[in-house]
Symmetry: C2
Subunit: 526 residues, 2 copies
């Protein structure tokens, strides 16, 4: 894979910039902290299954695809595509002989690809040793310490786009960060996509709730990227949008998701084919059963995309948590989903496609210790397991029903730590630090030694919100918990936000497109 | 290594038991939850360094031992031991040629060993694929939601022994769980050791603050174990106490710790030789530098123990966190200590000795989200890295200055989850669950299927304190955070506590020993 144009270190953003504006942007960039456009891991991946275990899961997935099959509902074209490819189509049930879906995927799906951002320094590679962090996705509610829990609005949506733009550890602007329920259901995608384009220059996600909304997302991307939209070498559109296509587990795809997937694939835009599974309800209560079913559903969906548009970028997605066997409520951050994640990451690598999973998931309603334990118990396996695209990195509360302002800031800090973890151990002479040990010797301290002085700025990840002061100082400062400090942080960040520059002609064209399209049909609640 | 007498499943505790008492005990056991005496991991360990990286650290440790050396202060016997072994002794500085310490350790230190508990079903194997969870150690303060932070007392100490006894996921009673500052410094070890013996039947730790106090710990263990103290096969004492011997990093051992180590080693009791390092102060600011220094210090200490008492059980300990480069305050749960832990665990395996590190460390003063993120970011690497003996599994707050009642309950829950994680993926036919997938099929749900029904009781780790209910139900129940639910839990547990049976004659002999010894010297603050 070609690397994006940006080096791993923060690159100066020079396109369409004159001297004065550039100086202002540099100052903004400094305020936003040192931002890495993406992570390239330097430590290995953790796996829980050996070759035999992985082969067992793959065999079971093949059995599911061949014997049980996957339903493609309300989409005659999809069934025709499968029939033409040689699958056994029985009503809406599609059965594929063992190995067929794998062969289709491996024949044309890219192992990795670049999602281009309007700011080329923000483009991200998806796959391989790379990890890309995106905010949470899909909450109808927001929560903060001041207002508690309430329905989300487009203002909240814009706030989170801005906070994600400012977050040095988030590489991506995400998609439906929260549902702007103050806007009509059938028109809110315009404002969401526009907000990503206007208030951030990081890569973003498109609408998947209707094929027409997917097409709107593509059209707006064409306007945004202009003559940069088509790759001059391949003559094909560059991949500039990534899109979340969920299976209706168990073993079902519906017309909405299939329709959106077809639009994006035919425009060479990326799809994340994700069985969304709460084990015990949508899959068996076991890790191995959930993994086999997830693999079967994802294989089928990815193969379908490749049949529709060979070579279109696809990502194997896995969203697998559990339900409480007592109450039926979804649970997060428990050990079983971590095991599923480790297994699925390995299976995606064997298949040869990028992998999406994990994040900072939790069931807690508030940004308390439960939220943090559960989130860390999801994010750390996400990073050690080798997830390439991490949706839900920041903000997730209440099983995804709420987007938390304070939780967002807390999770961004955790994502920052993961950059340091994934950078691994520096074994250079400076990293080995033998000079420091020689200089200091027994019984002394390292605080003032030359090596410590030389590495002062870069030594150790620095959390902007953790409090490690003495208890006396902490009490003098108001005995705040982490959520309270995070509350002050997001307010300060929003107050200091400045939008990245956007060509006024492009901005006008985007607004013009939205307004014209909005005028062509009535508001709707569906 | 022989396994302890107890099987992995909870064993009936039948020694000295008649029918009625046994029934009562069974009921108690049921209330205390299903307790595993220890963990045998079924998933692999995670490593961050390759062969070359590990060899580099080992080479640097050898260089430290040969060129810089380790100081053995105020202990002429220790220097004589080293001289006799062929080390270069220059004042209090001991230098060993490359490989010498490693050879000494590998010649006689056991790869693993059993620490016997007075209840044989609670004996624990230390080393290999086993993980043993012990509570936190050493806090002068306690904190709970009702009282805030205050000095710890012997009553707190007893409370935590009881809570650890009741905790199904803790395998060990620990040592100085908190400092009973209401008792004289030079006599409180009696009450601490006695509390472990009286209020728990799990294995425990001895006193290390003076060689005489170590000897008292051994003498009380002899009384407790009676004719079980000496192994009839080897004629040597069984290992029934494990003890924390900290190096005075950098590169220094003091007479107190050396004195205690000698007492325990000569009695065939286990020592955990632990460089206690806050990187940036007691070691270089880098992971590789901290690992090399830790390995050098630990190698020297373990070799010393083997020279004093060949074959005495030793554990390689690593306590490595960082300091804030801004304030100098210790920090916890950051990525660098996780990298040190992964590296040190691999180095201990290469050396062939058990490894102690990690826990649920945090810098937060209170059981908030900071405490939880940091603790999870320590405990998960602890478990994935392959730590054998985990001190500080539960209760740690404020960099170890405070023992938290609520934090203890929260961490115990996390330790429970680690049991499930380390058990890995069940690949049996039941685990593969193909029958369930066949039975349910596309578009249906798994809630009522035969496989779900059959696995209802054991499916998924169940947290006793997490709340996954709807926000409406959670609000109706008082909108409690995790700490508030944990507060109710520890109070309920203490109210229901019943001590494990202890032979009254042994109890009397222990009290008699303590009282006699206490009468022989005056109270002191040192």
């Amino acid at each position: 894979m070609d690397e994006p144009q940006a080096p791993a270190a923060p690159a100066p953003r020079t396109h369409r910039a004159s001297g004065g504006r550039e100086a202002k942007r540099a100052a903004r960039s400094a305020r936003a902290g040192v931002s890495m456009p993406y992570i390239t891991r330097k430590i290995g991946v953790y796996e829980v299954l050996d070759e035999e275990g992985l082969a067992t899961i793959e065999r079971n997935a093949d059995t599911i695809l061949a014997e049980i099959g996957i339903e493609y509902r309300d989409d005659a074209e999809a069934l025709a595509v499968w029939k033409a490819a040689g699958a056994e189509v029985d009503g809406v049930r599609v059965r594929c002989p063992p190995g067929m879906c794998r062969s289709i995927v491996q024949a044309s799906a890219p192992r990795d690809f670049i999602q281009h951002a309007r700011n080329p320094a923000r483009s991200v590679p998806i796959g391989g040793k790379h990890t890309v962090f995106a905010p949470s996705y899909g909450s109808p509610f927001v929560r903060n310490l001041d207002e508690g829990r309430r329905y989300a609005t487009i203002e909240d949506f814009r706030n989170f786009v801005k906070l994600a733009y400012l977050a040095p550890s988030l590489h991506h602007s995400g998609g439906t960060i929260c549902e702007p329920v103050d806007l009509p259901v059938n028109k809110r995608h315009f404002d969401m996509v526009y907000s990503h384009m206007k208030y951030s220059d990081k890569p973003f996600m498109g609408s998947v709730t209707h094929p027409e909304r997917a097409q709107d997302s593509v059209e707006m991307a064409k306007i945004l990227f202009g003559d940069q939209y088509v790759d001059p070498v391949t003559g094909k559109p560059k991949t500039v949008i990534i899109n979340l296509i969920n299976a209706n587990s168990p073993m079902t795809y519906d017309a909405t998701m299939l329709g959106a997937a077809k639009v994006y694939a035919r425009a060479n835009q990326a799809t994340i084919i994700t069985p969304f599974i709460l084990a015990g309800a949508m899959s068996p209560v076991t890790v191995a059963g959930t993994a086999a079913q997830t693999l079967a559903e994802a294989l089928s969906g990815m193969a379908f995309v490749q049949l529709v548009a060979p070579g279109a970028p696809v990502v194997l997605g896995s969203f697998a948590s559990s339900i409480s066997m007592q109450s039926g409520a979804p649970t997060f951050g428990t050990p079983e989903p971590a095991l599923v994640l480790f297994a699925m990451a390995a299976l995606a690598r064997r298949l040869g496609v990028p992998f999406r999973s994990g994040g900072a998931l939790c069931g807690s309603k508030i940004p308390d210790a439960q939220a943090a334990y559960e989130s860390a118990n999801t994010l750390l396996p996400t990073c050690l397991g080798g997830v390439n695209f991490v949706l839900h990195t920041a903000g997730w509360l209440e099983g995804g029903l709420s987007m938390g302002y304070e939780k967002f800031v807390m999770d961004v800090d955790q994502a920052g730590m993961m950059h340091t973890l994934l950078a691994g151990v520096d074994l250079s002479d400076n990293g080995q630090a033998m000079d420091a040990i020689r200089e200091v010797g027994p019984g002394k301290h390292f605080l003032g030694c030359a090596h410590t002085q030389a590495n002062f700025e870069t030594a150790f990840y620095r959390s902007p919100i953790a409090d490690n002061n003495s208890v006396e100082q902490w009490e003098a400062e108001g005995s705040q918990d982490l959520a309270q400090r995070a509350n002050a942080s997001w307010k300060k960040q929003l107050a200091s936000y400045e939008a990245p520059p956007l060509d006024p002609a492009i901005d006008e064209a985007l607004q013009d497109y939205m307004n014209r399209r909005k005028a062509t049909f009535a508001d709707s609640k569906y």
